[in-house]
């Protein structure tokens, strides 16, 4: 049964496109949408509704569509909830109906319709009050099966998505008469213009009238000739943000089976516009009456689109139900296409167009409404009656065209914070005084009619040009005005008759649900929306949002203007997660930082771990160690304790600080003093936040009177720099100090172990490393393999150690030279795991202890708080709560049973089963020196517990390990090794 008209439409009838819907094959043409092609093939039932599984058809011809949603494509490209009227037909398209089981025609769960009195508004909220077990076991599984829309693909998306940034003088959203005229005016004045149109053809309503084709084509061609104009069809502007920044999605390859090679599927545009013209048109409104959701009910404007643009007759015999003149155009066009008009039900008592239609032989019933729809699954009969319900007559018809008037598409204007004004003339909200640099034009502000909209668009274009200061504008050709006598539309929202009358077809919200929400106290429009889920679905209530507000207004006994609309927020139309993510997926999710020695680590088999964005070697497995990482970690750590190891420490933050007041500045940042530090010496420094909590630590060296070299922890490098910039620029701008992050400029490596001096002495030229000449904390310049290096005698491991820093480009030759020099001493590269083990043995604090909750005193570092002079955090560190003696203090921990394992995160308790936590284990590792697990912890009472016993409780494993409390320095308590 073909509904395709013999001629007309904007189709390429020479191109036949094959597609399937629910496994059945159909044919359409280039220029069709999935909706128009299915309609042409006589398919009317296309889905089941969300809650009641009612049969649903195609209501609209655009992105307003609430009902005709499908799953598109298969496999990894399957996409749910695609509105059929915006799905451009392509050869091989596969579509599946949604929310039906086992089949669309026979849906078992449509019994929900019979049980619907148990699924009222607020159903979800109410069920949450039932016993939890009932909900989890019975209701949730049932609801999950019965309610919902389509299913997303479970496989990874094979396509890629692009992000694009653009600037323009004028952004025009919408390419109907208003949008085209505005764009043309702006373009002729020399403005850089971007014109976005959600449809695949430019023209909006112009596409429905062959008489306007010349003007449309000429205007589009004139725009296309301008080099500063970007025309973006298939592009939906979805968001209007601050500072005239707008978001749009261009569906680059949605109209193809799959994207061409090297093309994205979709493109996310961030557009910064100096001026904006919103020519987004209007949404035709439904009318709430029983059965207004039945397949065969089509909005009148949509029916005109199917006739004129797609050459499809949506039915054979039609009833038109309207409160306005525009629907008469549909009636006349239907008749012209051979569709019989059973009757026009016009709610208005009289209208000029009604008289004209009667004279043309059409049965117009003024002052009448549709009170019901009959038929099995779709429209077979339509009942028309007087507004008071009298004289009801059931008319045979398979098509019911409905028009409740037109609401300007104000979503974007409202997002830009434009207030909404109520217009009695169109019974709808229109944009008020703009707040940002934008203006609405044409139907988007209630100016209906092609000539009127074009003229309004031209005015908006001129206003944008004037705001830009671009000078005078050229006159452009506009479509001629058509004078026509008319009758104002009459606000009309609902036919009160028996049966379900829907205000939101996608979420199955009825007029009765809105009234129930009102009765139950959800009378604010925002509350009613959430309680009933009205206007919340993918279509955002574009067809029925205002109808719901009108029903609520009546229940409240107030005007719709007083009730208002719920806040409009992005996204105005659904946007895929893929395009939001863009290229930031998988390995491109975040940048990766690699040290200058990364390639060496890779060549030597390092296993890497992430430290922030850095990739750091965790350990270097050797033959025989592949199955047990501990073997590598312990071997590396032993090498440091017994001979010499070398570790890439380039990731530590490095900041070069210079200036006459550099020392004073560091005195104010650190708790200890740096202005007294001799040139050629390093000092360990502790930094607090202004609230008195420990912020960061590291060593800072003095290279010259006015030149310091500072290091931070890897994790805090960026935060410390920001902290310094804040204080230098805003708190003490009078200080003469400049600094710069040089983390990436220097590669640094730590050679540590009793044989570190022996190993390095062979590699280092120009510096005497003898203990007397270069003691602990000395700093000096030298060369290694002919490369310049800076040598720091500092130690994190607790062994004799030297940190060798070199400009990043020399990293490998320097490292290789040290490796070669240390070979005879068994020099061993060690990774972050061994580094962690060594620092726990030594009792040095790191991230686990510097977690933003510990004070200097908590960490046993109170000796580093200078008595004289101001520094960040000094005053608030003295608050009673931060110096309370019961605060947890850093301690060392060792299991009493040498074979027992200690776990970080365990709580310290006095006895097995004791629920009172005295502290916790912050770090734990097996010790290579003590041959048992060791840990650091924070323990209330601190050193008072030394040599006493507690239990480390790990309730997750029901584990209690008896531990002895010790000094945090598990090895070399006297600190002799670093000075050896």
């Amino acid at each position: 049964m073909s509904h395709r008209l013999a001629s007309g439409g904007r189709l390429d009838r020479t191109r036949r496109l094959r597609f399937t819907f629910d496994g059945r094959s159909y044919v359409g043409h280039a220029g069709d949408t999935l909706a128009s092609a299915l309609m042409a093939n006589g398919v009317r039932l296309v889905g089941r509704s969300f809650k009641y599984h009612r049969p649903r058809g195609i209501l609209t011809a655009g992105p307003d569509e609430p009902s005709a949603l499908v799953e598109l494509r298969a496999g990894a490209r399957r996409e749910a909830n695609m509105p059929m009227p915006v799905v451009e037909l392509f050869d091989g398209l596969e579509a599946q109906s949604q929310n039906r089981w086992p089949s669309l025609a026979f849906d078992i769960l449509s019994v929900n319709s019979l049980l619907s009195r148990f699924l009222p508004a607020g159903f979800y909220y109410k069920t949450f009050m039932w016993p939890a077990a009932f909900w989890e076991k019975v209701y949730e599984p049932l609801i999950r099966r019965s309610a919902g829309l389509g299913w997303a693909a479970k496989e990874a998306d094979p396509d890629h998505y692009e992000t694009r940034h653009a600037h323009c003088d004028v952004l025009v959203a919408g390419s109907g008469a208003a949008g085209l005229a505005a764009a043309r005016i702006a373009a002729e004045a020399g403005a850089r213009v971007i014109l976005c149109e959600q449809d695949f053809e430019l023209g909006g309503g112009l596409l429905l009238d062959p008489a306007l084709e010349d003007w449309r084509a000429a205007t589009v061609a004139a725009l296309a000739r301008q080099s500063e104009v970007t025309l973006l069809p298939r592009t939906t502007v979805f968001g209007y943000y601050d500072s005239n920044v707008l978001g749009a999605v261009e569906r680059v390859a949605d109209h193809l089976a799959e994207p061409p090679e090297h093309q994205p599927r979709q493109r996310y545009w961030t557009i910064r516009a100096r001026e904006v013209v919103l020519a987004t048109g209007a949404h035709e409104r439904l009318i709430a009456f029983p059965g207004n959701d039945r397949p065969g009910v089509v909005l009148a404007g949509a029916a005109l689109s199917y006739l004129r643009r797609f050459a499809v007759a949506p039915g054979k015999r039609a009833v038109v139900f309207t409160n306005n003149d525009e629907a008469y155009d549909t009636a006349l066009a239907l008749r012209e296409a051979g569709v019989e008009i059973a009757a026009i039900a016009d709610v208005r008592p009289a209208a000029v167009r009604a008289d004209e239609a009667r004279r043309a032989g059409i049965d117009v019933r003024s002052g009448s409404v549709v009170t019901g729809v009959g038929g099995g699954r779709d429209v077979e009969r339509v009942t028309v009656a007087r507004r008071n319900g009298a004289d009801g007559e059931s008319l045979a018809a398979d098509l019911l065209c409905v028009s409740g008037g037109h609401s300007p598409a104000i979503e974007l204007a409202s997002q830009s914070r434009t207030p909404l004004d109520w217009s009695d003339a169109i019974a709808g909200f229109v944009p008020g005084q703009p707040v940002q640099r934008q203006r609405s034009a044409g139907a988007a502000r209630g100016i209906f009619g092609v000539a009127e909209a074009a003229s309004d668009g031209a005015t908006a274009g001129r206003a944008a040009v004037a705001a830009l200061g671009l000078g005078k504008t050229e006159a452009i050709a506009l479509p001629p005005a058509v004078a026509r006598a008319g009758t104002p539309s009459e606000p009309f929202w609902e036919v009160k008759a028996s049966g379900k009358a829907f205000v939101d077809l996608q979420h199955d919200v009825t007029t009765e649900d809105i009234r129930l929400a009102h009765r139950e106290g959800y009378a604010h429009i925002e509350h009613a929306k959430r309680y009933t889920t009205h206007a919340m679905a993918t279509d955002q209530g574009k067809t029925g949002g205002l109808v719901g507000a009108a029903v609520l207004a009546e229940a409240r006994g107030e005007s719709i203007a007083a009730v208002g609309m719920p806040t409009y927020r992005p996204y105005a139309s659904p946007v895929s997660f893929g395009v939001i993510a863009g290229h930031a997926v998988g390995k491109n999710f975040a940048p990766v930082r690699r040290t200058a020695l990364h390639a060496w680590h890779v060549r030597h088999g390092a296993r890497f771990m992430e430290a922030g964005m850095w990739m750091r070697p965790a350990y270097y497995p050797q033959p025989g160690e592949e199955k047990d990482a501990w073997l590598s970690v312990l071997r590396e750590a032993r090498a440091v304790r017994r001979a010499v190891g070398i570790c890439d420490v380039s990731t530590l933050g490095k900041i070069d600080v210079q200036g006459k007041d550099a020392g004073v500045f560091l005195d104010r940042l650190y708790t200890n003093t740096f202005s007294t530090l001799p040139i050629g010496r390093a000092r360990y420094g502790l930094m607090l936040r202004e609230d008195g909590i420990v912020f960061d630590d590291g060593t800072t060296s003095r290279l010259a009177d006015d030149h310091f070299f500072m290091t931070t922890t890897t994790a805090n490098a960026a935060r410390v720099l920001e902290h310094m910039e804040y204080h230098a620029q805003t708190v003490w701008p009078e200080l003469d100090v400049q600094f710069c992050a040089v983390t990436d400029h220097w590669a640094s490596m730590s050679a540590a172990g009793p044989k570190a001096r022996l190993a390095l002495a062979k590699a280092v030229q120009g510096l005497d490393l003898a203990n007397a000449a270069f003691p602990f904390m000395a700093v000096g310049d030298a060369q290694v393999a002919g490369c310049p290096v800076r040598v720091f005698r500092i130690s994190f491991s607790g062994e004799l150690a030297y940190e060798v820093a070199t400009p990043a480009g020399f990293a490998e030759p320097v490292w290789e030279a040290i490796m070669a020099a240390g070979a005879e001493h068994g020099i061993t590269p060690y990774g972050v795991e061994a580094l962690g083990l060594l620092r726990i043995e030594k009792g040095h604090v790191a991230g686990a202890e510097l977690g933003g909750h510990t004070t200097a005193r908590d960490l046993g570092l109170e000796r580093m708080l200078k008595k004289n002079g101001d520094y960040v955090g000094r005053v608030l560190a003295g608050r009673p709560g931060l110096v309370a003696p019961e605060r947890p203090r850093l301690v060392g921990l060792r299991p009493v049973d040498p074979k027992a394992r200690l776990r970080a995160g365990s709580h310290l308790v006095a006895a097995v089963g004791d629920g009172q936590s005295l502290g916790w284990v912050t770090s734990a590792m097996p010790s290579v020196e003590l041959d048992c697990w060791i840990g650091l912890g924070m323990l209330s009472g601190g050193e008072a517990w030394h040599d006493k016993r507690l239990f480390a409780a790990f309730p997750l494993y029901d584990e209690y390990v008896e531990v002895a409390v010790t000094h945090p320095h598990h090895v070399d308590h006297e600190n002799a090794r670093v000075r050896a």
Binding site: D242, V245, T270, E722, Y726, V875, L876, R879
Partner: protein, 91 residues
């Protein structure tokens, strides 16, 4: 998304900046006592209206700048260098 007119770089996207907060608080003198520092660190107005605030051009010139922003409408009316004075309009 805001577009912020950095006095050093020109108009840039908000994503380049990091927000800190009230730019009218002053770090007390060293001897001002715990209450003054407590106020400096913790006590903030929560105005419905104009707010002078610190933004850090972290992905740009690394300068801290002052921004006069309306907390209700998000309008940014002025920006200034750290050392310059910004005056909020009368409410």
């Amino acid at each position: 998304m805001h577009r912020i007119d950095c006095p050093w770089c020109g108009v840039r996207d908000e994503i380049e900046f990091a927000y800190r907060g009230d730019a009218t608080v002053k770090r007390p003198e060293a001897g001002a006592g715990v209450d003054a520092f407590y106020a400096y660190v913790y006590e903030r107005g929560n105005p419905r209206g104009w707010h002078i605030e610190w933004w850090h051009h972290a992905a740009g010139c690394r300068q801290w700048i002052k921004v006069l922003r309306h907390t209700l409408t998000h309008e940014i009316r002025a920006t200034a260098k750290a050392g310059d004075t910004v005056t909020a309009p009368k409410p």
